[in-house]
């Protein structure tokens, strides 16, 4: 599939940037090609073919930095982007913290299972058949509607070169399926719960996502009621964990937020920040991981970093710039999803390790399971305070689902609760979203308010 060697283009662009007067330069070239089929309300809504190639250029003149990108790789467009980046650097004030681009890493490890030639060459028919199978499955279920679903497969190549001698390239494939099923009767519509599956090497598994979403929708076809506001035992499903942690815990573990004083975990390396049940790892080399690559968004080798180990804060994630601002190295966590983005600290594959309990243990007694949180992004990143709608929350008694608690709100302070309220963590993990794997976590004494 490669039609031009991206690394050759990157190296050439570096030369052009030098010729134009850049002291240092970095070029990121990316090509994506793929197909996607979408479903809306039990029907195929559209099919897509994408052919996307572009180049991002970061230059520095002394401590003045500029960035530009362009679509297509024609010499004229690439030179125009270089010119723009250099002009921006010229007018920008010096960034006193700028300490240059990364050096080549001593060793680059290729993660396993991130490329499959079968996936790279997948045809539309295979995808369309998968989608039809999923639609047929849902149509057989009474009152069920596959409200939104889709599957996509794409091939991606990336190359990075910089004036320090970084010259790296990599290729990968991605298969993603997403499904949200609702059950709609005369009296009730269940909430939309999105479920995902993804793989770097296997055909997309849309049917599993559909089945899981349907199974969870069925839990909401009977309705129960919470008598009064109070403190309850609550189980966060992997997705609810990922949703709530994303704007709070994961925000606080990001190096740039630490350096900027935005993280409550600033200066707490070696201290206990969560219950001993929690271990959080960022693993850029995860086998078949959604975001596994040989190198990160600026050409630094990826690696596995333990961020929280049995509750003890071990590390943050850094790119080169934010690491150097406090005298540290990059952790291989410069994230760049597209050539249009500037590098910034972020996560590769987050893995929250499982505990030693079974799902039965988690559901023991009376407990409210949160399958999906609405408005989790409104949680306060600075304080950890949140007030979110559980949509749905389902009450379980002795392991049995006893109905959907419509409109319940869950609130509290997640920074405090991960320290004091976690009672059980499941062995079982699930991929909550592409790039995040988490177990089921039971919190005790969480404030739950019934619908007004």
């Amino acid at each position: 599939m490669p039609y031009t060697n991206l690394l050759d283009i990157a190296s050439l662009a570096i030369k052009w940037a030098r010729d134009r007067g850049a002291d240092s330069a970095e070029v990121f070239v990316q090509r994506r090609q793929g197909r996607r089929v979408d479903i809306l309300a039990n029907r195929i809504s559209d099919t897509r073919y994408i052919d996307d190639v572009g180049i991002g250029v970061r230059v520095a003149l002394g401590k003045k930095v500029g960035f530009s990108y362009t679509t297509s790789l024609s010499p004229e467009k690439v030179k125009e982007a270089i010119e723009l980046a250099i002009n921006q650097a010229k007018v920008s004030p010096a960034d006193k913290y700028w300490e240059g681009l990364p050096e080549p890493s001593t060793q680059y490890t290729t993660p396993r299972d991130i490329y499959s030639s079968e996936l790279a060459d997948i045809d539309s028919k295979t995808l369309i058949d998968l989608v039809k199978e999923a639609i047929d499955f849902v149509r057989k279920e009474k009152n069920a509607i596959l409200s939104r679903a889709g599957t996509s497969v794409f091939y991606e190549e990336r190359a990075i070169a910089n004036t320090n001698g970084v010259e790296v390239e990599d290729k990968g494939t991605h298969a993603i399926a997403v499904a949200s099923t609702i059950i709609k009767s005369d009296t009730l519509t269940t909430p939309a719960i999105f479920e995902y599956t993804s793989s770097r090497v296997e055909k997309p598994d849309l049917l599993s996502a559909v089945k899981k979403s349907l199974e969870r929708a069925k839990l909401c076809t009977s309705v129960s009621k919470l008598d009064k506001p109070g403190k309850y035992s609550v189980v966060f499903t992997p997705k609810a964990v990922a949703e709530l942690f994303s704007s709070t815990i994961f925000y606080a573990l990001r190096g740039d937020n630490v350096v900027r004083g935005r993280s409550p975990y600033h200066g707490k390396i070696g201290e206990e920040i969560t219950s001993k049940y929690l271990t959080v790892i960022d693993d850029g080399l995860l086998v078949g991981g959604d975001n596994s690559w040989r190198f990160d968004g600026e050409g630094v080798a990826t690696s596995r970093n333990v961020l929280v180990e049995s509750g003890i804060l071990r590390n943050f994630v850094f790119d080169t710039y934010w690491g150097k601002r406090i005298g540290l190295e990059s952790t291989g966590n410069s994230v760049r999803r597209s050539y249009s983005q500037q590098p910034q600290p972020g996560y590769t594959n987050i893995v929250i390790e499982g505990g030693d309990s079974s799902l039965e243990d988690l559901l023991d007694g009376s407990v409210i399971v949160l399958y999906n949180l609405q408005g989790a992004h409104t949680a306060n990143s600075d304080t950890g305070e949140y007030s979110v709608l559980a949509n749905p929350g389902v009450i379980y008694k002795d392991g049995e689902p006893r109905g959907w608690l419509r409109g319940i709100t869950v609130s509290g302070n997640i920074f405090e609760e991960v320290k004091k309220n976690i009672s059980i963590v499941s062995r079982e993990k699930e991929k909550a979203f592409p790039g995040i794997e988490a177990p089921w976590i039971r919190f005790d004494n969480i404030v739950v308010t019934p619908k007004a």
């Binding site: 089929v37 809306l40 309300a41 029907r43 195929i44 809504s45 559209d46 099919t47 897509r48 073919y49 052919d51 996307d52 930095v65 500029g66 960035f67 530009s68 990108y69 297509s72 467009k77 982007a81 980046a85 002009n87 921006q88 007018v91 920008s92 004030p93 960034d95 913290y97 539309s124 028919k125 369309i128 509607i145 409200s147 709609k184 519509t189 909430p191 900027r260 004083g261 409550p264 500037q342 609405q374 408005g375 992004h377 409104t378 306060n380 990143s381 600075d382 304080t383 305070e385 007030s387 979110v388 709608l389 949509n391 419509r406 409109g407 709100t409 609130s411 404030v447 308010t449 007004a452």
Partner: protein
Amino acid sequence: MDHSILDLIEYSLKSISDLKYDLADIRIEKIRFTRIEVKDSVVRVSSGLDYGAAVRVFVNGSMGFAYTTLLEKNSIVNALRNAYSMARATHGEFPKPYLLEPLKKLEKHSVKRSIVDVPIDVKLSDIRDLDEMVAKEVLIKSHTINYLERLEEKYYGSSEGRYLAEKRELVYTALLVYGEEAGVRASSFITEGTIKGYSIWDKRSQESFYRDATRKLKNQLTGKTPKAGIYPVVLGPKAVGVFVHEAFGHLAEADLVVGGSALQGKRGVKVASELVTIIDAPDVDDGFGTFSFDDEGVEASRATIVENGVHVGVMNSRVYASLMGDKPTGNGRAESFRHPPIVRMRNTILLPRDHSFEELLEGIDFGYYIVSTAGGQTNLDGSFQVGIEEAYEIVNGEIGSPVRNLGITGNTLETLKNIDAVGKDFKLGYGRCGKEQLAFVSEGGPHVRVKRISVGGRA
């Protein structure tokens, strides 16, 4: 505008005239943007030349979409042929898209002073004025300023013989400040936007950005914790805007109506208090959703969603206009050439009535005045959750102490029915809405009183 682009479109469409389809269209975008980001006084300037072509072919009840970043005939024709063959293989169940008459039109929005004519160092200096003001404030521990300008050139051609081009400029500025005092942490966010060229600082001065951000921050650092429960609430224009967009507007997007939103089957039904009229308009002065043609080449027209409390219409695209037997409203929008247009809002507005702000407060013994929100989310069933950034207690008809970290939840239609007074003022807000794709939108309204809203506390 570049007339040769329309020629390229026409030429590419001609080269698939051997194929049979209901509609084929090509959208070419040339977006040039510059972004200036200031994080705690460190300045970063970046830019992008985002050019590409998106094609759609409607055949057999389905739509094939393809895009390429290579603006040349071969790549575009390859995209068209790929889109055609994928759609043909699908045998979808959607009706033919709503077809329109041939038309040739070029639209250029007038601007006071084009962003192209203002040198980058002037823009930098204007932003640094704000940066210096904010950096001096002891309450603010960290801040970010984002300035984004886009020069949008969009070209559209279809097999119907429609050839359209529209050019507009857009500027969006946001200030985010963060503070910490006595163990309490908080942040606040101010945004402004315009499509009238380089006029952002005339619309909202640096002082105004600074003053409002600091006030909100101070309120949150010192504010009371709200009492959980059900209270009368007065919503400010910003909060009303977010409510009509997030909590209500999405329910009235034709694709979500068909997908089972709470407005499904409610046409002609009273869904709100008779004081409520909600429209989505493409012709509001200086709105982010103000344009002449949508990304499907449809003339943008006003969509009236609720008129005096009765649900009268939805926002649609060509396909959903056919599906629901409505006229197309011109709500088909795409984030960029990388995405097919979907039903999106433009400028969503609750129309003002006749009450003064004081009248709205009258008679409230205890309640909350919600000025602005911090994001929200809605579900198809009409349930919503909105985080609140700036709020005050209302005590005996007067504005009282600031409240921090409030959240409101409820059901949209129930809430709309509980509106018992609508103010006479009006304000438009600017933002970006994410429904799979980002879209620049505006939303707004007057002050509004709601009899009862569930307020989330933090026990």
